[in-house]
């Protein structure tokens, strides 16, 4: 806030008074940056420590306050993917479900968002108000009836039972996608229609390339939601072979009494589980924060 005032001084004058001001600004820069660095380090430190503890040797005693292992080893990671704990299977199951859910729900959201924003057809507003109404219903209300419907449709213990509600439950995704699509100029679509493009050409050649930022946000949210979710895969999948990563971690965490390796393996798996949203965030961060912030500011 004071930048503009200070920079005006730095560019215009060279008197001793001004030099003192520049010095003061440099001092403030050092102080605020150091403060931010210290706070961030305190904030991230416990996370670094638990990551460090997963690289410790099994029988080496490690101080929990430091991120450096007493003796470096990848034993816990090897144990995690061993015949005893099977986390490689759970990770693969979770990857497959997250990718399938994201691909299908993003496609469905993009198609519907485009139609709701840019095409005119009878029943459009009714459909949209349906979505908004149901968007308000929380998981707490939907969990049990959704499970009952899955049971009636014989989808309990199947992956379709995990994927399909994700496709039809992304009401927020539809809402966001419609907002993105409203920014595509209608004249552009009209001009393409005049030139003889059919409706499918319009969608694939004009709408898709222009909606990439929106698609990125929807796909990120969907992937993160599917990967991070615990409750729904926990209640729907009881077959151990089909189990996903999050329920597997939670289950092993609750059986730790009988098994001394369970807790370190749980920690290792929890760190591995965190890598997917972290990588996703690092990749999509550029437009992600600004888009969401824009959505709430508006």
């Amino acid at each position: 806030m004071t930048t503009s005032a200070v920079t005006r001084y730095t560019t215009s004058g060279r008197g001793p008074d001004v030099r003192a001001k520049i010095g003061l600004f440099r001092l403030r820069a050092i102080l605020t940056t150091t403060l931010a660095a210290i706070l961030a380090l305190i904030f991230i430190w416990p996370f670094l420590c638990i990551v460090g503890s997963t690289f410790n040797k099994i029988d080496a005693v490690m101080n929990p306050l430091t991120p450096i292992p007493a003796q470096f080893s990848t034993q816990f990671y090897q144990l995690m993917v061993s015949e005893k704990y099977h986390f490689q299977d759970y990770i693969l199951n979770s990857v497959w479900i997250a990718v399938a859910t994201t691909a299908l729900s993003t496609l469905a959201c993009t198609l519907s968002g485009y139609a709701l924003a840019k095409l005119r057809f009878p029943g459009r507003d009714l459909l949209f108000s349906f979505i908004i109404a149901v968007m308000l219903l929380p998981t707490a209300t939907m969990l049990v009836p959704q499970f009952i419907v899955m049971r009636d449709l014989k989808l309990v213990n199947t992956y379709w039972g995990l994927i399909l509600p994700g496709v039809g439950g992304g009401a927020f995704g539809i809402f966001l996608m419609r907002q993105f699509m409203l920014n595509i100029p209608t004249e552009m679509l009209e001009a393409a229609r005049m030139d003889g493009a059919n409706e499918f050409d319009l969608f694939f050649k004009i709408v898709l390339p222009n909606a990439q930022a929106g698609i990125g946000v929807i796909a990120t949210l969907s992937l993160r939601g599917s990967w991070n979710s615990l409750l729904w895969p926990q209640v729907l999948i009881s077959d151990v072979k089909k189990r996903l990563l999050m329920p597997a971690i939670a289950n092993l965490n609750q059986q730790q009494v009988a098994d001394v390796f369970a807790l370190p393996v749980v920690r290792t798996a929890a760190i591995v589980a965190a890598m997917v949203p972290l990588a996703l965030y690092a990749y999509s961060q550029r437009y992600f924060v600004s888009t969401l912030a824009g959505a709430i500011k508006g």
Partner: protein
């Protein structure tokens, strides 16, 4: 006879033909179909089913449903001590979260928007990161952090000459430990939203205040804070709704029992336990509706609160 009967079908067929020959007429329905078919089956139908299920009770896992009228709701509101526990925990957890996270998020947002600060993007990212992590990871990290024997918190206490505390064993520690985890997960996220809100405040307002001789503290308190009220409203409404659905961290951190003396028992834990522990599907659905009504009530209350304050500010 035939001359009357024939025009009907042909006219009808021609309107269908017209519908399918004009691509702009049928493609919209094709485009919305994938979403709306799954939406109708897996969201809309269960919602309607839930309205009925709230008045029913299933007998075990048999799939038979008995109509019980308002009995589920009556039991949940008057004869279920765990509902009271869940409600009290929800209130403590929500108020505690907002009271600890919002002031710190505001101060952090002020620090991270300070013009003198270098490397703004890096700091924002570091504080934002915990909010994208899975709830399961946060629960596991919390369990490690507050572990009695090899946890971070006790190691720190002992190295400072303090006692070793059994965080999970005593009821009075459970909500505070959950608040620490929630603080770690959400405070930076709130700060990033506040920063986004601050970027919407015009430079000329701030510069006018500087010219008028307002100190940094006065600018923060009397100009930035009031102008951020819509962002605060957004954060506290979504945070309250989120803590109503609080499940993953307490479930992983405290286990299925909800910790010592039920201090970690929340509405979602209760619903999950009723539906999949005791197979009382109708009763769990009724609780789900009550949670929905609570969500509506606290949202409306907060909207009123913030609007009222906004109105007062302008007057």
């Amino acid at each position: 006879m035939t001359s009357i009967a024939v025009p009907g079908p042909t006219k009808k067929r021609s309107s269908i033909q017209r519908f399918f020959s004009d691509q702009t007429k049928w493609t919209p329905y094709l485009f919305v179909a994938p979403f709306f078919i799954t939406f109708a089956i897996f969201t809309l139908y269960p919602m309607l089913r839930a309205v009925v299920m709230g008045f029913q009770e299933s007998l075990g896992y048999s799939g038979k449903w008995d109509w019980v009228g308002l009995a589920n709701y009556r039991e949940a509101l008057t004869n279920d001590p765990r509902m009271g526990v869940a409600f009290k925990n929800f209130i403590y957890y929500t108020l505690g979260s907002l009271a600890t996270q919002l002031p710190c998020a505001f101060l952090l947002a002020l620090l991270l928007t300070s013009p003198a600060l270098k490397g703004k993007g890096l700091w924002r990212t570091l504080f934002f990161i915990p909010s994208v992590l899975p709830g399961v990871t946060m629960g596991v990290v919390g369990g490690w952090f507050f572990s009695k024997t090899h946890g971070f918190a006790n190691a720190l206490l002992v190295s400072l000459g303090g006692p070793r505390i059994d965080w999970g064993g005593y009821a009075q520690y459970i909500i505070p430990t959950l608040l620490v985890i929630a603080f770690w997960q959400w405070m930076g996220n709130h700060a990033v939203f506040l920063i986004a809100g601050m970027s919407g405040i015009g430079d000329e307002i701030i510069e006018a205040a500087i010219v008028d001789g307002a100190s940094a503290w006065q600018r923060a308190r009397y100009i930035i804070l009031p102008l951020l009220k819509p962002v605060f409203a957004y954060i506290s409404i979504t945070a309250a709704a989120g803590s109503l659905m609080n499940f993953e961290v307490p479930y992983v951190f405290l286990g299925t029992g909800g910790g010592a003396r039920g201090k970690g028992w929340f509405f979602m834990t209760h619903i999950q336990q009723m539906a999949f522990g005791q197979f009382r599907m109708g009763y769990a659905t009724a609780i789900g509706w009550l949670v929905f009504f609570i969500a509506v009530i606290i949202t409306v209350l907060q909207l009123r609160l913030y609007e009222f304050r906004l109105g007062k500010e302008e007057a």
